[in-house]
Structures are given as structure tokens and as C-alpha cells.
């Protein structure tokens, strides 16, 4: 099977006026993402993770390297406007600031914005909007004004606006960074549901390790390059490397790490609280 997204040797640099030379933000990056995957891209600010997202969505054009979406090279010069629309339709994007991505004054009109742009017939837009709002649990707010909603609710409306375009993949560009813990949970739950129940490929860009831990695979970026790529339990084993990259490890993982350094034999790094608790429990019972 062909991967849904395939990136080879991608390089991108910003023109930095102050330094007069090109500053590479993405440096020779290659990876593949299959349909239905849930991938977290982890890195501190300025590690190039947001630039990567904008390249995948053709908001930016790479200096060199290729990006294949569904087998089609999107960096090809022969891409027509229709092709670009097709890519944006199949790879939706949700951004950081919930206020700056809502266009309309009524929630349901905002959700309809994407499908309207695609020229979909009215009755079908209606059905898609209703379904999308249901998927994120915002149906009862369909007639509300976006500015009266909480941050988490706004962000869920933004997600609904993307779902209504029926994309195959959604990129979340630090979509939880500006939310409070309640809003963050709401949005995380919506993201996981989209992936598990609707089979939408999710690329989640974040700097929260706790959130990344819920993905099936984590790509860690630092200074424009991929430094780690694998399942969460593998990533979390590399505690010191993560810390060097300006990332903080969840408290539980740190505890397990310190216990292991102390010579206590725990077999895994411990990704979730439950996993850590079970491991400690197992150790105690085995001792007896």
C-alpha cells in the first residue's frame, strides 16, 4: 500500500533580513504517514514543526525535496489551482488561536464556510454542517455567536469547520496551546474520536508531551530535523535527549526514569499514569 503522505528530503528556509543569509527551518526531512495514522509532531517553538505543517498544506513552497500526497507530487510545477484546492480539501488544518480562524458571526455559518467554498449544493452543506457539529458535540451551539463561546468550544467549532470539508487528514497546529485544561481535554477528546471513529488521519503538532503520549506515533523535531520517530513508549525511553531538545517529560515518566537510575528494575519508560502505576505495583508484588 502507498503511504498517504510521503516526504523526501524536504528543506525550507526563511529569508532572514537581519542575517542576510538563509536560515534553514526545515532541514532534509523525510517521513511517511499512512492513512488512518495518529501522529504527533513534537518540538519546542522554532523547531520547525509549524513550518512543516504549512508545507504539507501548500501554504508554503519548499526550497527542495518532494511531498507526495496520495501518490501525487504536490511540489510539482504542473500543479493547477484545482489541484491545490483538492490538496487543501483532503488535508485540513486547525490553528492555534481559535479567534483567528472563525469567519462568520454564527457558528453554523462558520462551519459551512469551507463546503461553500467548494461549491457543494445547499442541502448537502446543511447535512454536513449538522453532522460536523454533532461530531464535536457542539450541535446545541449551532445558532450561537462564536465570540461568546469558551476557547475550547471555539476550537471545536473550528474543527467542525474542517470536518465539514470531509478531509482525509487533519493537521492540528498547536491547537490546544492557548486553552485552559478543560478546553484542552475537550479538544483532545474530539481529536481522538475523529481518528478512532471516523478513521481520519491526524497529524498533531504540539509541545505537550502528555498530549503526544496519546498518539500512536511521535516524531520529535529539533532545529529543523527529525531526531526521534517511533511509538510513544520508545520515544519516552530517551528522556535525556528529549530534555536536551527543550521538552519536558511528564512527571510519571520522570519518576520512573529516576527510579531506574537508582537501580530499581522497571521494564518500561511508562507513558501513562496507569502504565506507571501497574509497573510499580507489579514490582512490589513480585518482590513479595
Amino acid at each position: 500500500m502507498n503511504p498517504f503522505i510521503k516526504v523526501c528530503g524536504l528543506t525550507y528556509s526563511y529569508d532572514d533580513e537581519a542575517v542576510v543569509k538563509k536560515h534553514a527551518v526545515i532541514n532534509n526531512v523525510s517521513f511517511e504517514i499512512n492513512e488512518g495514522d495518529f501522529v504527533a509532531v513534537l518540538g519546542h517553538n522554532g523547531s520547525g514543526k509549524s513550518t512543516l505543517a504549512k508545507l504539507l498544506n501548500m501554504i508554503l513552497v519548499p526550497d527542495s525535496g518532494e511531498i507526495y500526497v496520495n501518490g501525487k507530487n504536490i511540489c510539482d510545477d504542473s500543479m493547477t489551482d484545482e489541484d491545490i484546492l483538492e490538496i487543501r480539501k483532503s488535508i485540513g488544518m486547525v490553528f492555534q488561536n481559535p479567534d483567528n480562524q472563525l469567519v462568520a458571526t454564527i457558528v453554523e455559518d462558520d462551519v459551512a464556510f469551507g463546503p461553500e467554498n467548494l461549491g457543494i449544493p445547499s442541502e448537502e452543506i446543511r447535512a454536513r454542517v449538522d453532522n460536523a457539529l454533532k461530531d464535536v458535540g457542539m450541535s446545541e451551539f449551532a445558532h450561537h455567536e462564536p465570540h461568546r463561546l469558551s476557547g475550547g468550544q471555539k476550537q471545536r467549532v473550528a474543527i467542525a469547520g474542517i470536518i465539514a470539508m470531509m478531509p482525509r487528514c487533519i493537521i492540528f497546529d498547536e491547537s490546544t496551546a492557548m486553552l485552559d485544561p478543560v478546553g484542552r481535554k475537550e479538544v483532545m477528546n474530539s481529536i481522538i474520536r475523529l481518528n478512532k471513529e471516523k478513521g481520519i488521519t491526524v497529524i498533531m503538532i504540539t509541545h505537550y508531551m502528555e498530549e503526544a503520549a496519546r498518539a500512536d506515533r511521535i516524531i520529535v523535531m529539533n532545529d529543523g530535523s527529525i531526531i526521534l520517530d517511533g511509538v510513544p513508549s520508545y520515544i519516552f525511553e530517551n528522556e535525556s535527549l528529549l530534555k536536551e531538545c527543550g521538552l519536558s517529560v511528564p512527571q510519571c515518566t520522570e519518576l520512573v526514569h529516576r527510579l531506574r537510575e537508582h537501580g530499581i528494575c522497571l521494564d518500561k519508560a511508562g507513558v501513562s499514569i496507569e502504565e506507571c502505576a501497574d509497573m510499580i505495583l507489579k514490582h512490589i508484588t513480585e518482590d513479595k
Binding site: 517553538n45 509541545h207 502528555e210 519518576l255 496507569e274
Partner: protein, 282 residues
């Protein structure tokens, strides 16, 4: 000794309109001098309203706010002086940057206070040191800084006023771990340098457990708990009952307890859990 005391303070949003909402309900608290106090609560629990009481940005509808034992509203015309004594760093304070250079922006508060020109530079440099700014950064435009640097520039703008109490509303919101770490280190250093009184509002229980001496927990416009952090974090059920999280490490210990492992209450840092478990697992 409490530096700042709130006595029976109540406040209503939209007072006198049909949409009147009680935002603060009979609040009685003291902010201890020379310590870091953490203020925890949900969005809409009244935290942000409360901190605006501290420096007289809002006037309580009932009750009194006492700074060093003096009612700050006894002379309403002098309320501006209170704002210099209680420095408030708002949420996402980078929005307040407007001057041509970082230096000028940090100097803005002190200039409004009427600090003589000769003293301005000293204050700006001192504040810049606290937030770990290199000298050359001070002559850049504040709009050319990175997100974390902007945040620190805004905080320096308040520190330069040399307030007696520094209040920070969500100082690390939206920053990456590196940015958070830098800000918290700055705050700790600032507090330790002169034994300043600091109040931090935050959602992150892990950060609060690490930084604060005292904790005030708010819920629905009321004080739910207030006291020493050991005291507050020992009662994790009360925190979770109002939908607040407890530090992840406390969650782990609670989970172990449920699974039948004997664990003491009030473990809220990795250090404490490590000390306890290393002997138990040996």
C-alpha cells in the same frame, strides 16, 4: 504577616443591569509577605477578577482591600499609586508592548510613576537582568522578539516599577516548555533576590506545586481552600470535586493507593514520590 488583605470582598459584573452576575462572593484572604502565593481555579472562577482587586483596577462593591493595613480605596484619587505598589502582569501581557525599543517599553511604567530620568536606566537594566535579557536585546523593537522574549519583556516592564507585590496572571500560558522554564526561573530568582511578595495565577498544578509556598483555590467566586501547599495538596479529593486537576504525580500516588499500595497523602512533587518509592521498591 499579611501584606495584602481582602475583607468580605464581593464584586458583581454588570452591577445594576438585569445581567448582574456575582463574580466574587464574600472573599476573605491574606497574601503573606515575602512568599509566593499560587491562585488556582477554573476559567470563570473569579481569579482574574480577584487579581484586579489587588491593585485597584476594580473596586469591590462590598468589603475592603487593605495594603499594609490601609484601605486602598480610602483615597480614590490616589488609586494610581496602588497600581505601582501592586504590579500586575496580565494574561498574555505581550499585548501591552508598544514602544520603539524594549528599553523604552520597560521604562514606560517607571516614567508614568514620575521616576527621575537619572534613575530610569538603573531600573530598566535591573528589570532586564531579572528576566535574563542581554543588553543588545534592549535596543531591538519589541515586535521583533520571540514569543517567550516578548512575555519576559512585558514582565520586566512591571518589575521596573519596583512593586511591593508582583502579581502574574498565567505568566506561562501558551509557551513551550523551554519558555515556561525560563519564566519560572526568572520569577523564582526575583522572589529570592529581595524576598519579594509574589502572586501567581496558573492552571498548571505541577508548576504550582513546584513554585509556590501558599495556595489559594477558588471555585465559583468563592475561596474553596487557602493555606500552606502541603495542606492544600493533601486534600486531593476536594480539588478533584470541583473539577480541578491534582499534579500528575499525586494522581499516580492516588491510583497506587486504590490498587492497594500503602501511600501517604500529600505527595505532589517527583522528588517526594521518588524519596518514598525508592525505599519501598528496594
Amino acid at each position: 504577616m499579611s501584606k495584602l488583605v481582602l475583607e468580605n470582598v464581593s464584586f458583581y459584573h454588570g452591577r445594576g443591569t438585569p445581567y448582574e452576575i456575582k463574580a466574587l462572593d464574600n472573599i476573605n484572604i491574606g497574601i503573606p509577605a515575602g512568599k509566593i502565593t499560587g491562585l488556582i481555579g477554573h476559567t470563570g472562577s473569579g481569579k482574574s477578577t480577584l487579581v484586579q482587586m489587588f491593585n485597584g483596577l476594580l473596586e469591590p462593591h462590598e468589603g475592603r482591600v487593605l495594603l499594609d493595613g490601609v484601605d486602598i480605596w480610602s483615597q480614590p484619587k490616589k488609586i494610581r499609586d496602588v497600581r505601582f505598589k501592586v504590579g500586575l502582569v496580565m494574561q498574555y501581557p505581550e499585548y501591552q508592548l508598544f514602544e520603539e525599543t524594549v528599553f523604552k517599553d520597560i521604562a514606560f511604567g517607571p516614567l508614568n510613576m514620575g521616576v527621575p530620568e537619572s534613575e530610569i536606566e538603573e531600573r530598566v537594566l535591573e528589570a532586564a537582568d531579572f528576566v535574563g535579557f542581554e543588553r543588545e536585546l534592549l535596543y531591538k523593537s519589541p515586535f521583533d522578539l520571540s514569543g517567550g522574549q516578548k512575555r519576559r519583556a512585558a514582565i520586566a516592564g512591571i518589575i521596573a516599577m519596583r512593586p511591593e507585590i508582583l502579581v502574574l496572571d498565567e505568566p506561562a500560558a501558551g509557551l513551550d516548555p523551554r519558555g515556561r522554564e525560563a519564566i519560572f526561573t526568572n520569577i523564582l530568582n526575583y522572589q529570592r533576590a529581595n524576598g519579594n511578595t509574589v502572586v501567581i495565577v496558573s492552571h498548571s498544578m505541577e508548576d504550582m506545586a513546584r513554585l509556590c509556598d501558599n495556595i489559594i483555590v477558588m471555585s465559583a467566586g468563592e475561596i474553596l481552600m487557602s493555606g500552606d501547599k502541603d495542606e492544600v495538596f493533601t486534600q486531593s479529593e476536594r480539588l478533584t470535586s470541583v473539577g480541578l486537576d491534582v499534579p500528575q504525580i499525586t494522581q499516580l500516588m492516588n491510583l497506587l493507593k486504590i490498587k492497594g499500595v500503602e501511600c501517604p497523602d500529600g505527595i505532589y512533587t517527583v522528588e517526594m514520590a521518588f524519596e518514598y518509592l525508592k525505599n519501598k521498591l528496594r
